[in-house]
């Protein structure tokens, strides 16, 4: 559609309008100064518990993995790779079998969740953790053992209080404590 010429609303102009506008601005500022509606999340002490389905960190359940490589092939950032092991096959004694398991490199992972979606046996799943930071790059490149460990949100580990936000028609966003269990779990 071509742009339609819009009719601009001209604000009221003049000395009285200016005085009124300034006083109105100060009045609004004073209203919020005297009765602030502060909904700041005090982050290390409080945290937002993520809803199910949030694309957080990814954890592997090795028992379910059928080594189909779909996750590594679909990864758009080439963050997920297959590591290969050659070991004796328990079903056919004397023969060797090639085992392949995915590992992830969080340096590149963009948390798109394609690998979780494509996994045919739900061996990969998202963990509701999202605020993990690293001091160096090496520890972000996980190996097979580290990939099976479920990462914990540091705020949860340090004993933060889970909160959630609800919309109040009069006051806007309001922070309320999460109902039910406090702490982890």
């Amino acid at each position: 559609m071509p742009p339609r010429p819009s009719r601009r609303r001209v604000p009221p102009y003049g000395f009285l309008a200016a005085v009124k506008g300034n006083l109105g601005a100060i009045a609004v500022g004073l209203k919020y100064f005297l009765d602030p509606n502060r909904f700041t999340l005090h982050y290390p002490r409080e945290y937002i518990r993520l809803k199910p389905g949030y694309r957080g960190f990814i954890v592997l359940n090795k028992a379910k993995c059928i080594m189909c490589e779909s996750c590594a092939r679909i990864c758009p950032a080439a963050a997920m790779k297959m590591v290969r092991f050659q070991a004796p096959d328990p079903r056919r004694p004397g023969k060797m079998k090639l085992y392949k398991y995915p590992v992830i490199n969080y340096q590149r992972c963009i948390f798109c969740g394609y690998c979780v979606d494509v996994c045919p046996t739900e061996a990969l799943r998202h963990v509701p953790a999202h605020d993990v930071v690293y001091y160096n790059l090496e520890e972000m490149d996980l190996n097979l053992e580290q990939f099976q460990v479920e990462p914990k949100s540091p705020a949860e580990v340090e004993g933060g209080i889970p909160v959630r936000y609800v919309f109040d028609p009069e006051r806007g966003l309001v922070k309320v404590p999460e109902k039910g269990q406090a702490g982890g779990g």
Binding site: I26, G29, Y32, F33, P36, R38, F39, T40, H42
Partner: protein
């Protein structure tokens, strides 16, 4: 023994020293400025539904934030680029700091003659003249930096100086007219009861208030250092302690001008009325505290405007100063002349 203590006290409270260095001079200025900066950040946060500085000292509500900033600035690397004029670059902020405090020498905080640092008849004029000095050093700081943003910021400051100085002087002369005196003590003594000039002459008070905001880059007029346009204005090249001094000097100037505004318009020490023969506490310290509290409230109101107003453009600010605020100040002066002619006060 008591004689020794008395001697020491008399040395500390020797007005020329005490007034310039301790209160309302440098030490009190720094303390109040640190409080006001914290208050400014907290107020802006409060109006914007935030918390503001908090985690540095949760029990005090983050009141130590400015101390932390000061420590960090003091122990950061002071970068002095090779392209600057080194002597001017270093001396300009220091001179600005010193010159900003100097007007307090002419501002009396008590009616008793032994508390005046320099007994003079025209103290209002002297204080006004001394407050006009510090922009020179701000412009010099920008010029010495030899950076395009600094030079642009300095030029903006120079524009602002031409815009606000006249307004400030005329609006303060509106106070001197009805009293028939340039002596600040007489001006305060004329404001007995609730007849303070802020109520009698609101036009001049408002003009002086806006002129203070303009002169110290208060928030609606933070034009020389507007960081979205010129990086940090005259302070672009300053880092570490020198930048802290720079910023502190601007706020100290605002503080000194607020003290002057308090004396001239808000009745100074007026709820108190020290009689001749009053002691150190009743005659000097108590009026001083009243003045400082009033000045702090004035600065707090100025800080509150940071949360309400957006920044003006340079042309808008200069236009406002010449077309609206200057006629307002002149009208206030006319009102003061009428008061003086009728002998209201």
């Amino acid at each position: 023994m008591a004689g020794v203590v008395d001697t020491i006290i008399s040395w500390i409270f020797w007005p020329p020293l005490f007034q310039l260095v301790i209160a309302p001079g440098l030490v009190a200025a720094l303390a109040i400025v640190i409080f006001i900066l914290w208050f400014e950040r907290k107020t802006a946060a409060r109006v914007q539904m935030r918390v503001g500085p908090y985690n540095v000292s949760p029990r005090l509500g983050g009141a130590l934030q400015l101390i932390a900033d000061l420590i960090r600035y003091s122990f950061q690397e002071p970068i002095i680029p090779k392209t600057v004029d080194t002597a001017a670059f270093i001396l300009a902020p220091l001179a600005m700091l010193v010159i900003s405090v100097v007007p307090t020498a002419a501002i009396p905080v008590s009616p008793l003659p032994w508390t005046w640092p320099i007994p003079m008849e025209h103290s209002l004029l002297v204080a006004l003249a001394l407050t006009t000095l510090s922009p020179v050093f701000l412009v010099a700081a920008g010029w010495a930096s030899n950076n395009k943003f600094s030079v642009i910021g300095s030029t903006r400051e120079a524009f602002m100086v031409t815009a606000y100085e006249l307004v400030f002087i005329i609006s303060l002369l509106a106070v001197a007219a009805p009293v028939h005196s340039y002596n600040l003590v007489e001006i305060v003594e004329a404001q007995a009861g609730w007849r303070m000039f802020a109520i009698l002459n609101p036009l001049a008070f408002l003009a002086a208030f806006i002129a203070i905001l303009m002169s110290t880059s208060g928030f609606p007029f933070e034009i020389p250092e507007s960081e979205h346009e010129v990086v940090a204005g005259p302070f672009t090249e300053y880092s570490g302690l020198l930048y802290g001094i720079d910023m502190g000097a601007a706020y100290i100037k605002r503080y000194v001008m607020s003290v002057l505004l308090t004396i001239a318009f808000l009745g100074g020490w007026k709820p108190l009325d020290p009689q001749p023969g009053a002691g150190l506490l009743a005659g000097y310290i108590a009026p001083l505290v009243v003045v400082l509290v009033k000045a702090t409230i004035v600065m707090a109101v100025m800080s509150f405007f940071r949360a309400v107003y957006g920044r003006y453009r340079l042309d808008q600010a200069v236009d406002l100063a010449w077309r609206v605020i200057l006629p307002m100040a002149l009208a206030g002066y006319a009102l003061g002349l009428i008061y003086g002619y009728l002998g209201v006060i």
